[in-house]
Symmetry: C2
Subunit: 376 residues, 2 copies
């Protein structure tokens, strides 16, 4: 009996082991000189961490916690099930402590700086650092009278910007999602790489991209600060009345609505919708990534919208769209609504990212597709 | 006996407890919305982390591991002895795992991305983000033929740079230390804040600062890559033959040695010395922070040095200098050597940062003092 049990058990263990393909390589998000985290051709993520006195260590990725095994030297190692292509936040769980993987690079998302990993994608070339003319990400601070604070912002300028000292450029205001901040688009979003590659290939016209922090802490009337998040009120106020004038003064922009766009992902998409419908005279170009759409009713009920709007672009990851249409939220179909908007006369487009969920590869691809339509 | 022991023990515990002043506030390096890490007026660092199943958790800072205590809710909390003013790398030890504090911001040093904390300094105003005209940190990539790779670099430009489209500027090439990278000066170094504040106060002339990665991975003749670090050979070669021409082509520089400086901290100071002595026709201005000095013999044995050099600046933290003069390294006194260099006719200066060791407050203060002497 004991022997039969062992045979069955050993066979099962062998099958489980055989299922993991041993072609792991260090991920692009491994720190300089570190060998982990790794990914294999099945898109499994493997991590390794030294924790000699720990009772248990887990890899926490995609909403699942995977138990790691302890090596003789006190290191814990193990891998996840296959993940979707693209970027995923993850963390380690060491005896109940949720901590960053000490071997990975760190990103701001899920309301914390923590680990992230890129599972190679079939189309990853579009966001690779390549030897093409390189734009710049410029880190700037500016004083906000409304929020009584110095605000921190990233601005992408195309490679040709400093070579054409009199040329003026359109501007896209591009927002992160909930639990993220202004580092999202420059870092996990790969904004500069996507734009440099598109512009080098002649697929997008050169434009400036402003990446703001979508939360604004407002001073309370009685002093002290009021908690940060609102969908568009305080942020829209700062954006329209402070950020845009600052950008138009500091950069060589074309300061009119036809040459100004706003886009965002998830919460940033909802902010985009809210701000753009409140200010159709300010933004003529709209991108909403995984954050809803502009309906025919939105367009018709917004005075000036039909006259000024030049572009509406809507995108989703295929996996989140399946969930959404199947009953997520109010059960409406944002793709159908976008088609209806187009049929009503708007220049409306949609894009569905194949095989991705509510994650950054959906949004890298959204930017890649949106940018090719913008300002043309 | 038992009672006496308890009385003594309790008294000792009370004294120990009374010694910690309960005026902790969140550090500037706490993540957005997080309450820890904290510092108090005694310059103690307090951390808190949830690790309900851990056997032990320690705060590892300044070479000492401090045991944390477990709360009823599974959180571990505790504080260090008083630290020096300024910036310190630190980490947590959870059951033997060295991991970043999940509540702190992260910095690259000690050959890893990990936690850092700023203990407020009496003079911290000089590196604060203030509402003065703001320069920019520009993130750029460029192709290096020598290393067959895209290199990643940060460039500070002063606030007035884009407002004076024909004016040209001097350039400082500013290097990090061993185990650090190109993020060191923009992040823990507070380069932009120091320069913006100095320029706004009229204490420094506006100039450009280039912050490179001092390690260069060179392609092997037979393919593959050769390990990165050397003191100045490969890096100096890339810097002089690729970085400087790229910067002079891309930015409005004054492309001569009189208007070009190199400086660095620790390993970066040693690289500075090596590169500048090898290329006195390229760099006329030298800053060595915690990394040695230029001796009279160095100056006399370098053809061209006496004719071209305009400035030598040497600095140390007072604590490391005490150790050094007391026998560190070869037991020479770099301050005395700098004074001798000055007496021999060079424009040599030195600065000693009070109460700091081989850490970033020494180097922030070094940049602050060096910048006021440069290009005048």
């Amino acid at each position: 009996m004991k022997r039969i049990f062992c045979m069955v058990f050993c066979l099962m263990a062998a099958i489980a082991s055989a299922q993991v393909k041993e072609d792991f390589v260090p991920a692009s998000n491994a720190q300089q000189g570190k060998q982990y985290p790794q990914v294999n051709s099945e898109r499994r993520v493997r991590v390794k961490v030294s924790a000699p006195d720990a009772k248990y260590v887990q890899l926490d990725i995609g909403g699942v916690k995977y138990d790691l095994k302890k090596d003789a030297d006190g290191s814990w190692i193990g891998e996840s099930d296959p993940q979707d292509e693209g970027f995923h936040y993850y963390q380690l769980n060491i005896d109940g402590a949720s901590v960053p993987d000490p071997s990975s690079l760190y990103y701001y998302g899920a309301s914390r700086w923590g680990s992230g990993i890129d599972v190679p994608a079939a189309d990853e070339d579009f966001y690779a650092v390549k030897n093409v003319p390189q734009g710049e990400i410029r880190e700037i601070y500016y004083w906000s009278e409304l929020s009584q604070s110095m605000r921190h912002t990233f601005v992408y300028v195309p490679a040709e910007y400093d070579k054409n000292p009199t040329k003026r450029y359109p501007v896209l205001y591009l927002q992160h999602g909930g639990g993220e901040n202004e580092y999202g688009w420059p870092q996990q979003g790969k904004t500069a790489q996507i734009m440099d590659n598109l512009i080098a290939a002649g697929k997008a016209v050169p434009f400036i991209i402003v990446m703001e922090n979508g939360s604004v802490a407002m001073p309370r009337p009685a002093g002290g600060m009021m908690g940060g998040f609102d969908f568009a009120g305080a942020f829209g106020n700062v954006l329209v009345n402070e950020t845009i004038p600052m950008i138009d003064a500091r950069f060589r922009t074309i300061p009119d609505s036809a040459h100004r766009a706003m886009a965002g992902l998830s919460m940033g998409g909802m902010q985009t919708k809210s701000v753009c419908l409140a200010h159709p005279d300010v933004f003529s170009n709209i991108g909403i990534f995984s954050g809803g759409t502009i309906t025919v009713a939105d367009a018709d009920n917004t005075p000036g919208f039909r006259a000024t709007n030049k572009l509406v672009f809507v995108s989703f990851g295929s996996r989140e769209l399946e969930n959404r249409v199947a009953g997520f939220g109010d059960g409406t179909d944002p793709i159908q609504e976008t088609q209806e908007l187009k049929a009503s006369g708007a220049n409306a487009h949609y894009y569905i990212s194949p095989g991705t969920a509510h994650e950054w590869l959906s949004w890298r691809r959204a930017l890649y597709n949106f940018a090719q339509l913008l300002f043309k």
